[in-house]
């Protein structure tokens, strides 16, 4: 960040101040880490609903006749196949197959005449994604526009999220018909809103994209509608434990330029069979080295949390490290994801070195937590 590039700020920053939020710097943005108790915020999302400000996330609009073909080339998934108002989780790979970012792509046009996509990337990777897409668009009749700072993003997550979002006065098709990983266009107080049934918590919920200047009004309407439902304002601390319980990877923890999708269980996200060449294809086809670490889920007993960076040992021998870990608020025991040598991925002799103490760990399946259907 240079002196003449001002720090971006959420349009809700002063609202968070009024609400007594504790703020942290996240990729240059001052964002709420918690409003009060992050355990209470976590629990609210599991049992009722929580409201998150995610305005720091990057929104890049891709449009033009070749937009679909361009994204097929630039990303790992077959983006051209998604229908209007459908969402798709995808990866942006480097030539060597490493992960530049994981992102969600929404198709936001009514028909195929003028395809338009909203690419939502991690705040910390905004510039890396913008740079990569801007370079990869050469030769395609398409454009990439960074709308991050003109866009507000809020998420309502939890079992009663639909009742709350349905009560804020959106002009739209009925929300009941909106399926998971689908979106619909709506209007709130005269402003366009993209309402998506997506999230990062393992619960039902919505993510709402709106112009930055209208975000506060939308936020206050959600808070008001949520009062009778026990809606909690939630910070990034709760978001992290929620996504970890749901087994969702986090860029910078599980995902990085150093891992190929197959190492972290994301081979299915890469469309090797259904499309032609794309950036990173050759490396993905060649596959990771035989001894390249793989992602495992670990559980343990007691109350001590394995944390990111802690060594993982197999029968006393270092074989990897924890990428994310916490004392699971919902399950009440420690959970973690770790990158370990493939030979140890099924070992029953794993321990995590928790600041000098060996914590026995059991290999588990993701997700740690799955909501009841």
């Amino acid at each position: 960040m240079t002196a003449d590039a001002p720090q971006p700020a959420s349009p809700l920053l002063h609202v968070h101040g009024e609400a007594g939020a504790q703020l942290i710097d996240f990729a240059g943005w001052q964002m709420p880490v918690r409003y009060g108790s992050d355990l209470a915020e976590h629990q609210a999302v599991r049992e009722r609903a929580g409201l998150f400000d995610l305005s720091h996330m990057a929104e890049l609009r891709v449009s033009g006749p070749d937009a679909g073909a361009f994204l097929d080339h630039a990303l790992a998934g077959r983006i051209s196949a998604i229908e209007p108002w459908q969402a798709k989780y995808s990866l942006l790979l480097a030539e060597h197959g490493g992960i530049v970012d994981d992102l969600i792509v929404y198709r936001v046009d009514e028909s195929g005449a003028a395809p338009e996509y909203l690419v939502v990337a991690n705040a910390s990777n905004r510039h890396a994604v913008l740079d990569a897409l801007s370079a990869r668009v050469a030769g395609f009749d398409a454009s990439v526009v960074d709308e991050t700072e003109q866009t507000g993003l809020v998420a309502v997550q939890g079992p009663v999220a639909a009742a709350i979002v349905g009560a804020i006065g959106l002009e739209s098709e009925p929300l009941e018909g909106l399926r998971y990983y689908r979106a619909l266009p709506a209007v709130f107080e005269g402003e366009d809103v993209l309402v998506a049934r997506t999230g990062y918590t393992g619960e039902d919920g919505f993510e709402l994209y709106i112009a930055a200047h209208a975000t506060e009004s939308l936020w206050r309407a959600i808070v008001l509608a949520g009062e009778e439902h026990g809606l909690a304002l939630c910070g990034l601390a709760a978001r992290d434990t929620l996504r970890l319980e749901a087994g969702m990877p986090l860029y910078g923890n599980e995902l990085s330029l150093d891992v190929l999708p197959a190492q972290v269980g994301l081979g299915r996200v890469v469309a090797l069979k259904t499309k032609g060449d794309f950036v990173g294809r050759a490396a993905v086809e060649a596959g990771p080295a035989d001894d390249a670490p793989v992602l495992v889920a670990l559980t343990a007993e007691g109350r001590r949390a394995p944390r990111a960076g802690y060594p993982v040992l197999d029968d006393g021998r270092p074989v990897g490290r924890v990428t994310s870990g916490a004392l699971s608020p919902t399950l009440g025991h420690p959970i973690a994801m770790a990158l370990v040598e493939p030979a140890s991925a099924g070992s029953d002799a794993l321990t995590v070195d928790v600041r000098g103490t060996q914590l026995p760990a059991t290999v588990a399946q993701l997700p740690f937590y799955k909501r009841e259907a």
């Binding site: 504790q22 880490v33 918690r34 108790s37 992050d38 355990l39 209470a40 976590h42 601390a237 992290d240 434990t241 109350r303 001590r304 949390a305 944390r307 916490a326 004392l327 608020p329 600041r355």
Partner: protein
């Protein structure tokens, strides 16, 4: 009741007679977030100045209980071990962590100096 003193490592200390009660400050608990686990030393454990004799774990991070002078643990707060949220709700009261007997004089901050440190 003696005056509460502080350390730069965010502990509060109240010395009564030859026993000092130690906890983490309200500022420290607020920075940690929800405390979910407290690991306290055994009674009788002796320690050197600057040693970490306990850990306070929150959902997001780990804080250490660092003693400002050499001494010995004479009592631990079993109640806080059973209910770590006491560290959040009553950091400078019922959420105390250990009582110790120092064998040397600790160098401590008064309240004004500590407030300045955390301002």
């Amino acid at each position: 009741m003696s005056e509460t003193k502080y350390t730069a490592d965010h502990e509060w200390i109240r010395i009564e007679g030859d026993v000092a009660t130690i906890g983490i400050t309200d500022y420290a608990q607020s920075a940690l977030g929800d405390v979910v686990f407290v690991d306290l030393p055994g009674v009788g454990r002796s320690f050197a100045a600057g040693e970490a004799i306990g850990e306070i774990e929150s959902t997001k991070s780990v804080g250490e209980l660092i003693v400002p002078a050499a001494g010995e643990v004479v009592e631990v707060n079993d109640e806080v071990a059973g209910d770590p949220t006491l560290v959040n709700s009553a950091a400078e009261g019922a959420g105390w962590l250990v009582k110790v007997r120092f064998t040397e004089e600790p160098e401590l901050l008064d309240e004004a100096a500590y407030r300045e440190l955390t301002a």
